[in-house]
Structure formats: structure tokens, C-alpha cells
Amino acid sequence: MKKIFLFLCCVPLLARDLYITRSGAVSFYSHAPMEDIVAVNKQASCVLDLETGSFAFQVPIRGFVFPNALMQEHFNENYLESHQFPKATFKGNIDHWLELDLGPDSQDVAVTGTLTIHGVSREISESGTLARAGDGINGLATFEVAPADYDIRIPKIVRNNIARIIQVTVNVKLQQK
């Protein structure tokens, strides 16, 4: 009895098939009447558990690079308040994971989980694609985020410069740990 108990407890910890990256790309695009803004972050970490289809992201906010240094400073200082909330995270699951047969062709997947930005956590459901690439796995997703949902206040004076809905693109190349 005890042996079974110990064994069962250890199964999820030992037999984990983890795929990971520390240099995932997360970019966002804001389209507004006055200007379009693109920022790219290549320091996103991601880990995917092949056993269960659960996965997690961590994105350092200071890692977003803007075309313009002032924008970057305002993004950190005034909007994302990165001194207080240095990271954005996501943890969730790929839906119907066990029915999925991952091959070299991109497959549409649905994901659900908790996205935390600016200290505000929200449950989201989005879609993306997954594909095996050599001995790794590539993941790609594009979704929309409304700053207001995450308590990011955009003053009236820059309404024409910053979109109310920001398009976020995530691109990761995971390797087995």
C-alpha cells in the first residue's frame, strides 16, 4: 500500500517530459489614428509539459524594445509600472491535449488559462498553433489584449496614439529539457 502510494505521488514529478525556452519572442502591435507602435521582447521564458499539456510563460516587462526610447520609458514608467510589476505571466492548459497527435504540420489548438499583466489576473481562452520541428516544438499564437482589462490607464491626451485593443503575438521554439 505504502509503495503504491509513494509511487503514485512521484509519477507526476518524475515522468515529466518538459519542453522549455528562455528566448521566446513576444511582440505587440498597437494601431491608433496618430501612430502604429510595435515592441518586441525576446526574453520570454516558456515551459510546456508534454505529459499533461499544461504550460507557462514568463515575460520580463523591461525586455520590450521599442523603436523610440521615450516610448519605452513611458511604457515601463507610466503604463505597465514595471518597477512594481516586473513580469507578465501566463499559466494554462492546451485543451484536449490527450487527443492531440503532434506532427510536423501546424495544428490549431485552443488554450485556456490565467494571464497576469500589471498585477491583474484574468482567465482567457485563445487559440494558437503547435508543430513539431526537429526534436523541438514550435508554438505560435496571436491574440488581443485590452489594456483597460488589466487596469492600465491610458489618459485621454494619448488616446489617438495608443490603441484600446493591443494585438499580441507569441512565438516560441521549445526544446526538450
Partner: protein, 285 residues
Amino acid sequence: MIRLFLFLLFSATNIFPQDELLDLLVDEPIEPMPVQATFKATRIVNSQSVELPRSKMLEFMVQHRFGTVENGFYDLFGLDEAAVHYDLKYGLHERLAFGLGRSSWQKTYDVMIKAKLIRQTEGQGKTFPITVVIFSNMGINALRKDAIVKDNFANRIRYLQQLIVGRKFNESVSLQVVPTWIHKNLVPAHEDEHDLFSAGLGGRIMVTRRFSINADISFPLGDRPDSFKNGWGLGCDIETGGHVFQLLLTNARGGYEGAYIEDASGSMKGGDVFLGFNITRVFSF
């Protein structure tokens, strides 16, 4: 026993995994990075701050000082008169900038170099507590010949060198000290010093994300004539996108660098102080 077993099994398989996955990532420390925005603008009120124009950006700044407020409504608290300093600065690199300026005070042109030697850093691991900047400015007085004692080009020049040591204590409070050396090639009287040393002090307190209260003052090191007054400025920053507006009250009217340190003329007692504003606008290239 079975209950405990079920509980552990449940917690291990269903609750643990995701958090543990995230923990795997969160363990990665965030590397120390230079602090941002110790001040909103490249000046606090009158004094230079530890901030440089950002890399690859052109910064245009207007310093506008009205006349004395003591005449009240007669000249609308000095608004009828103006002394100005304009400058254009460019960030060659995030740690190096240069600029050109013009002041109505003694019709002075100036050139400046500002370099960030050390950056205050924040984060996990090895961080540095202060930012150190050197600021070097040369002013060329362009008054007509007859207004100058001897018409020798060297007589028109004055230099200012500053070491600006600042620290952002937290999101709201930043302070800096500014040892300053001014050299005038020509002084009005024979007994006047060519080299003047002083120490500036400046700081800000953020009130909201885009509004702060700022102050700076300078103290002479060494002797000054009896008429000397410590130059001070009190103001606020209002930030709106690509602009920073600074509304202020000061006892120094000259916009030019050395003037607010050595040539402050007014005092609060007599009501002989000046309203003014600085506007910073940035352009990216």
C-alpha cells in the same frame, strides 16, 4: 490513510503541475538593469538633472523666464517681459549627448556635452546605488563690441563643469548633488574671481504618475560679494506624451547655465522673483 493518499495524489497531479511549471521559470532572477526616469526632464528647475536626451532622439527645450512679479498687475506679474534660453540636444548614445543653445541673457551662445559615467541599477544581484553624469558647457557672449571691455574673443567665453551625482530612492523621491566649477575668462572687476566653485542640490517628489514637485538650489563654496544671492528654483513637472512642461518660480532670471548659479538677483522678501516655464519636446530620428 486512504483519505490522505487520495488527497496527496490529487494535490500532486492536479494542483501542483502548473504552479510548479511557473516556478521553474520564476526562479530565473531578473538581471540588474539601469533605473529609468530619475527625473522626467533633463533639467530639474534651473539645474541640469542626471537625465540625458534619449539615444537617437532630438530634444528641443525652451526655458522662459518672465519679469519680476513685484509690479503686480501693472505688467501682469512680469508676464509682459521675457528672458529666454533655447537649446537643441541630441542623444548620440544612451550615455552621451551634445547640444547647442542660445540665451537672451548677454546674448550668449552655448555648446554642451553631457555624459553618463555610471548608471544606478536595480534588480536582483549586484546593483549600483547612484548615477554619475558629467556636464560640460562653454558659453560665448555675443554682445556688440562696444559693450565688452576689451575686444578679445577669449574675453567672451565662460566655462561650466559639473559632476552630477543622483539617486532615485524610490518611485517618488529622487535627489542629486552637483559640484560645479565655473571659469570666466573675463570678470567685471579686478578683484573678482575667475574661478567660482559651488554645490547644487536638487530633487523631486512625484505626486501622480505624470506630475511632480521639483526644487533646486545652489550654494557657493568660497567668498562672494555681499550682493550675492543663492539661486533657487521651485517648480512642477507635467508630463504629456512627448512633452514635459515645467512651471516654476525662481530668483534667477538668466536662462544660461552659469547665470542661475552666480547671477541670481531676486529674493522672496522683496517679492522680486520670477515666474517661468520650461518646455521639452522630443523628436525621434
